[in-house]
């Protein structure tokens, strides 16, 4: 059910729903959220943080008593997915920060997700336990062994209800396959394989096999001195299990077909927009580096995010994107400062809504932007504690680029570049979005009319 997408910007008013996380002034580095992902039904919302923890929220069943509370998300499970490690060979730490979480489609009562840090991918099983067996023969209720000589009768253990317990267990650990830092994982539509991509290589895994993976892309040059381009993101096609794309730091996207060869170094399609000579600067290459690539749900389009824009590409047209949206073009004159403070290297993600009609991405000052592809209208919203009254409608924000600043506008120089929204997620079928702002997770919903 996807209501009113045709007149999205007119019909949908975004309201604050919930915020998770502390309000402390000093943010613990470990609490910074590093990835957000809904599962395929939208019932679960997973976040990973820099401390290697995964927190899963579950949506409440909608109650008839409170129809306006359209299913809040409450903590369902929390577990430590990755621990910090030390690479003794290189004398380097391996961060436990969760780079990506990807859900597997649900096939039984348990939930499965993949979580990865820089080096290791793990498959976690999250399952509920609400019954426990009672009446064992050889041990009593406390677990102590009974004296066999005292047993006179046999009984069949029965399952009795217990308090709901959600447990997460690591089912597979896929390690030691990446020399460089993993930036993406993507579950294949066959649900049997997935890929993990680092800066220079992409590996294909089978979920059942942890000690082997196939290397399907390798862009490492024979001579590392010649390295000029790295892989920045990769994703499988949502329907065609042989097709995937990966993006590069030079602003190009390559689509590969795994049927052509075992090593997909030769792309099937190459997407690159010719450079605009009037906008050329020393920072052109840096801002063209693609930080995220996402297939549309239909599989017909891909969306890419570079530093200043979001672009939508038609898979059938390689020479330029079909749509380009300016996220924060007012930063174009600030690139030198942003280079100086390293903000120019921030990797923003982008997401589609369920019907592929609206795209969303983050910006600075806790702003995030939505673009309606049909009406070509866009809106800037803010994730902040000030707008956090229940069901408060979010007011569109505007950045003033020069000249006179209107009352509600904020000037470019007042933007807080430490408050960046890199990770967002959109519910697969409803207008519910999750926005990660440093250590807080904001959930917004559209106003129920």
């Amino acid at each position: 059910m996807i209501p009113g997408f045709e007149n999205f910007m007119q019909d949908v008013l975004w309201c604050f729903s919930q915020v998770k996380g502390t309000i402390d002034i000093g943010v613990t580095e470990a609490d910074i959220i590093s990835t957000v992902e809904f599962n395929h039904t939208g019932e679960l919302l997973a976040t990973g943080d820099k401390g290697g923890r995964v927190v899963i929220f579950q949506r409440e069943q909608e109650s008839k008593n409170q129809p306006h509370r359209r299913g809040e998300y409450n903590v369902y499970s929390t577990f430590q997915s990755h621990e910090p490690e030390f690479d003794y060979l290189k004398s380097l730490e391996i961060e436990e920060k969760i780079n990506k979480i990807r859900w597997l489609p649900q096939q039984n009562a348990a939930y499965f997700l993949l979580s990865t840090n820089d080096k290791t991918v793990k498959l976690w099983k999250v399952s509920e336990r609400d019954k426990r067996p009672e009446g064992y023969n050889l041990k009593d209720e406390d677990g102590r062994l009974r004296d066999p000589s005292m047993i006179t009768t046999l009984r069949v253990p029965v399952l009795r209800p217990m308090d709901l317990m959600v447990e997460a267990t690591p089912r597979r650990v896929f390690a030691n396959a990446h020399t460089y830092h993993i930036n993406s994982i993507s579950v294949n539509s066959d649900y049997e394989t997935y890929m993990s991509a680092d800066d220079l290589r992409i590996n294909l895994w089978n979920f059942e096999i942890t000690n082997q993976s196939f290397n399907i892309v390798d862009i490492k040059p024979a001579n590392m001195e010649e390295l000029t381009e790295v892989i920045t993101a990769a994703e499988f096609h949502p329907h065609h299990c042989n097709t995937f794309v990966y993006s590069s730091s030079k602003g190009t996207i390559r689509l590969c077909d795994m049927r052509t060869s075992a090593l997909c170094d030769r792309h099937a399609k190459f997407f690159e927009e010719p450079e605009d000579p009037s906008n050329r600067s020393f920072f052109s290459e840096i801002i063209s580096s693609i930080s995220d690539v996402k297939f549309s749900h239909s599989g017909r389009y891909i969306m890419t995010r570079d530093y200043l824009t979001v672009k939508v590409w038609d898979l059938n047209m390689e020479n330029r994107p079909i749509e380009t949206y300016q996220v924060h073009d007012y930063l174009r004159s600030k690139l030198c400062s942003l280079y100086e403070n390293d903000c120019i290297f921030d990797k923003f993600e982008c997401v589609w809504n369920g019907s592929d009609s609206v795209i969303m991405t983050g910006s600075y000052n806790n702003f995030f932007r939505m673009f309606d592809r049909n009406t070509k209208r866009d809106v800037t919203l803010e994730a902040s504690r000030e707008n956090s009254k229940p069901r408060a409608i979010l007011k569109p924000r505007k950045v003033c680029v020069g000249g006179k600043r209107r009352k509600d506008e904020i000037s470019v120089d007042s933007l807080d570049f430490s408050k960046k929204i890199l990770h967002t997620a959109w519910h697969p079928s409803e207008n519910i979005i999750a926005v990660a702002a440093t250590n807080n997770l904001y959930i917004f919903q559209d106003k129920v009319n």
Binding site: D87, K90, S91, L92, E93, I94, E95, D118, T179, Y180, H181, D199, L200, N223, M224, E225, E226, L227, T228, E229, V230, T232, S249, P277, S278, N279, R280, S281, F282, F283, E285, I286, S289, R332, S333, K334, L335, C336, S337, Y339, E340, N341, D342, F345, F417
Partner: protein
């Protein structure tokens, strides 16, 4: 991106204003007694008792040291300053000194290079400078901006986080930017120009700091292979008679003024200037080969330390693309009709003036 304020003073620096117009010739700036908070004011920690370095503030103005006195120290609260990291050096090609590098540049705004309250009077009257205080020109020349960017990029490449493996994507992007600047500087002939100054070099030798010497000797001990940079651009080879097998890029005539035993660069002429870039690359190599604990063995993980071999960088160089004709620092606008010779000429004039001041002619 804010300013740093505080006390890190052991040496006050006086701004020497490079003379750019007839009117300004002879003007010197005195910061003594001035209370205006300037982003261009600088207090730095002395890295050695005979700290004589002249600061080149990102290529805009040059500074000379002043003797400390109680009076000046008392007025310290009017200064903005920045902490120095003595381990890092940048070779200042204009003034032929090793300058400490500030890893963060909070005290000026590269976007505008504008100092509050100061304006500079130009020949064409576009800006003014008040009183005895020199200011930073509102929009430095394209070449200076480019040089600043180059310096910043090189420092970024060096300042890896030593505990965690550096971000490869970021390193590659910065290295590509460096490459791009070099390429353009070569095409412009600017690179060559910087290195043709050959006066007043005698004092340089003693300014070489000891840790550079130590580093170099360690490199010798490790048998470090210093890549012989082939000529950056054959076009500019003609003017330079020097051996091209050493220094990088264009400036074959430019060599390090060091009296290093078996200098890794195999310099023959200690009097010559050496490119800023070369020195910084040197530091990158040193960082890469630094065997101290917790240091990153090399910037690009398991491989070759000679990543920054200019030779190989240049082989992969992109073709030169001229800057578009845009406003503002960001696009480093330059006149589209600028030819190499005119660039050279303006640089030459500026450098001439600076050198004049240095030798107090």
């Amino acid at each position: 991106m804010g300013e740093e304020e505080g006390l890190h003073q052991a040496q006050l620096l006086r701004l020497i204003m490079p003379v750019e117009t007839q009117e300004e010739r002879g003007e010197t700036a005195s910061l003594l007694g001035e209370k205006q908070p300037l982003r261009c004011s600088l207090l730095c920690e002395a890295v050695a008792p005979d700290f004589h370095q002249v600061w080149n503030l990102m290529g805009t103005r040059s500074w000379e040291p002043l003797p400390l006195s109680d009076a000046t120290l008392r007025s310290h609260d009017s200064w903005t300053c920045s902490p120095l990291v003595p381990e890092y050096r940048l070779w200042d090609p204009v003034h032929m000194f090793l300058t400490p590098v500030v890893p963060h540049w909070p005290f000026y705004n590269l976007d505008t290079m504008f100092v509050r309250g100061l304006k500079r009077k130009c020949f064409d009257g576009e800006e003014d400078i008040e009183g005895t205080l020199a200011g930073i020109k509102a929009i430095p020349s394209y070449n200076l901006q480019r040089q600043s960017l180059l310096d910043m990029s090189l420092v970024k490449l060096q300042l890896c986080h030593m505990l965690v493996e550096p971000n490869l994507c970021r390193s590659v992007l910065i290295a590509n930017t460096v490459r791009q600047i070099q390429e353009e500087m070569t095409q412009d002939g600017t690179w060559q120009m910087i290195n043709t100054q050959s006066t007043g070099q005698a004092s340089v030798d003693r300014l070489v700091s000891t840790d550079i010497l130590c580093r170099s000797s360690r490199e010798q001990a490790e048998g470090k292979h210093v890549p012989g940079y082939s000529t950056f651009s054959k076009d500019f080879e003609g003017d330079q008679a020097q051996d091209s097998s050493e220094t990088m890029s264009t400036a074959s005539s430019v060599q390090a003024p060091r009296n290093l035993p078996s200098n890794v660069w195999e310099m023959e002429n200690p009097q010559e200037n050496k490119g800023n870039f070369q020195k910084s690359l040197d530091q990158i190599f040193e960082t890469l080969e630094n065997k101290t604990p917790n240091s990153v063995e090399d910037l690009f993980s398991e491989v070759d330390n000679s990543y920054y071999d200019l030779d190989t960088m240049l082989t992969g160089m992109m073709s030169n693309t001229k800057m578009g004709h845009c406003d503002g620092l960001e696009s480093f606008s330059s006149p589209t009709t600028t030819t190499s010779s005119s660039n050279c000429k303006s640089d030459l004039n500026e450098l001439d003036h600076i050198v004049e001041i240095l030798v107090e002619s």
